[in-house]
Amino acid sequence: MDDPVEQVRLQEILPQHTWQDPRVILRYRRRRALGHLVAVLAVVCIVIVLSPLLDIAFMFFYRGALAISIPNLAMTSSDGGLANAIVGTLLITALAGLVAIPIGVIGGIYLAEFSGQSRYAQSIRFIADVLSGVPSILLGYISFVIFILYFGWGRGGVGSGGSLLAGAIALSVLMLPYVLRTTELSLRKVPNSLREAATALGATKAQMINRMTLILALPGILTGVILSASIAIGETAPLLITAGNSNYYSACLTSCPTSYLTYLIWNFVTSANSINGESLAYLSVFLLMSFVIGLNIIARVGLRRFSKI
């Protein structure tokens, strides 16, 4: 018993007659050693978990940065660049947002402000959560069946035809649950005392929501919107099924195929005969990761500062 701190701790926690009992001391030390062992294992764990993630980040940022060049960025795929893919990805995401954001925000307002804990609202919440776990390929299939098989937009499948709007709608279903639930959660964070104050001043419910709660919840709602956009930007499977691919800028909404960044990666891995395929694949990974990580940082760190609640 040379460690005075340990001596004191043992005296604090053990009955007096056991203070000097070597078996008790040994047992206590063993228990502490087990704790240290587990701590070491947890550190090993986090290292194992983080190392592939860091390898992915560093490898692709490095190789992608090497592939940056003006022709790669400025030309269309027909000339060995990916300008049309950047435009396509942004266009698809914007269209998907155009569908998902109004529906999600208005639905979120209903869940937070009008519904309370009614069974109808509970089931909407539950289905929205379940919908966020439906594999994206199924969303692509459903969009394919409705828009391409039934409506006949850009008839054809992977590589032969496709429809920009069908792809965007598939992604909007992907975004919807995130927007809906984050809108609800950020509206719920607005303190009820403010709602009561607004009502006491004579505001109707509509006035209260539109002029107060929505504005206070805006940073939170934007966080959800941005995170859902970052998910949509990196989505591939539903687009491969519905949006086809194209070497040019997309010319129309419903029956024109479009190009998008993730397609270039898929194309490089699965077919060997693409022009300038390797450097375009790395460059598109670079751009995707920059978009996704940038949007995540804006959403998680940047917007928090504007939050007044």
């Binding site: 208005i106 289905i127 929205a128 594999p135 390929i137 992977v158 639930r181 984050t182 990196g234 995540n296």
Partner: protein, 334 residues
């Protein structure tokens, strides 16, 4: 004055009804999706019956003699069996979950119990950000780095030294197999398990933890006997949530394993295909099939995948909800 008030009240009522109707979009979508899929899958259900789940061969003829079987037009020699893909999906997801459970919980323990907050906060942020990386990038990394490493270095080593364990022996080499798929899926679902587990473990009541410490428990004993039991339900929920993600993952598997492996796995190195990866690649072929039966069969496969993932997700959500019961905040997770 009263007219004005009545008008405002009407506005409120319209607002409520309209937003309620729009809010149900998710429910309507899921119902519509199921109806549409069932409609298109109907010929396949008629044609294949139970054989759909028992058969191990999926081969859709692109040309040949068109025959009518059970009232459905099909081509002579067509066969639609999904057992291979179901087994491939379940096996790769099982490996993923087995690997991700210790790693995910260990990470959560590190973040909440071991690391000081100043270390834990940036690591959490980094993990959440990296969890947002699209699955196609994981697949690309698997294709470039993980797959070759496993096939050339890791798998021969295991097969040589641990070959006496069932499923660990067997021919190695060639292409990426079950193990590669399982590992890439594990890497993708660890952040899900870790972040939900962390969120519940943080919520362990301070009184319980401090009480246990005061009674002489070491830090690990507090974690083992207080924190983990408290968070148990939500942790199980998060594992099932991760399972749901692994079951439906498409791109990573399609890039790493491909979709052309139509045999049942014999070891953890066997190349397999999963339902989702097969659905992605077969649709192209189905478009060229003249009778449309291949598309119908794919829609039936889509229903199977929808049923599996929805069931898994419902269970996960219920468990997580129960695990978070009593806390004011709800969870929104991937």
């Amino acid at each position: 004055m009263n007219v004005e008030l009545a008008k405002l009240r009407t506005v409120d009522r319209v607002y409520k009804c309209l937003s309620g109707a729009i809010g149900s979009a998710a429910v309507i979508f899921l119902g519509l999706a199921l109806a549409v899929l069932l409609y298109y899958a109907y010929p396949s259900i008629l044609l294949n019956g139970v054989e759909f789940f028992r058969g191990t061969r999926w081969s859709a003829q692109l040309g040949g003699k068109i025959v009518t079987l059970n009232g459905v037009r099909t081509i002579n020699g067509d066969s639609f069996g999904i057992l291979v893909f179901v087994v491939g999906t379940l096996a790769s997801s099982t490996i993923a979950v087995l690997l991700a459970i210790p790693a995910g919980i260990g990470t959560a323990v590190f973040l909440t119990q071991v690391a000081p907050p100043k270390v834990a906060a940036p690591i959490s942020l980094m993990m959440e950000t990296l969890a947002g990386i699209p699955s196609i990038i994981y697949g690309f990394w698997g294709f470039l780095v993980l797959g070759p490493f496993l096939v050339n270095d890791f798998e021969p080593l295991i097969a040589q030294h641990l070959g006496f364990i069932p499923f660990l022996a067997g021919p190695v080499g060639g292409t990426s197999g079950l193990l590669a798929g399982g590992i890439i899926l594990a890497i993708m679902i660890i952040p899900i398990i870790a972040s939900v587990s962390r969120d519940t473990m943080i919520r362990t009541p301070k009184e319980l933890k401090e009480g246990a410490r005061a009674l002489g428990s070491t830090r690990w004993e507090v974690t083992r006997r207080i924190v983990l039991p408290f968070a148990k339900t939500a942790i199980v929920g998060s594992i099932i949530l991760g399972l749901g993600r692994a079951l439906g993952e498409t791109m990573a598997i399609a890039m790493l394993l491909g979709a052309g492996n139509h045999q049942l796995p014999t070891s953890i190195y066997s190349p397999v295909s999963t339902i989702a990866a097969f659905m992605l690649q077969e649709l192209n072929i189905a478009n060229a099939e003249p009778t449309g039966i291949d598309i119908a069969a794919l829609m039936e496969l889509a229903i199977v995948l929808l049923m599996i993932t929805v069931t898994v997700n419902v269970i996960a959500r219920l468990l997580i909800k129960q695990g978070f019961a009593g806390s004011s905040e709800n969870v929104v997770r991937v």
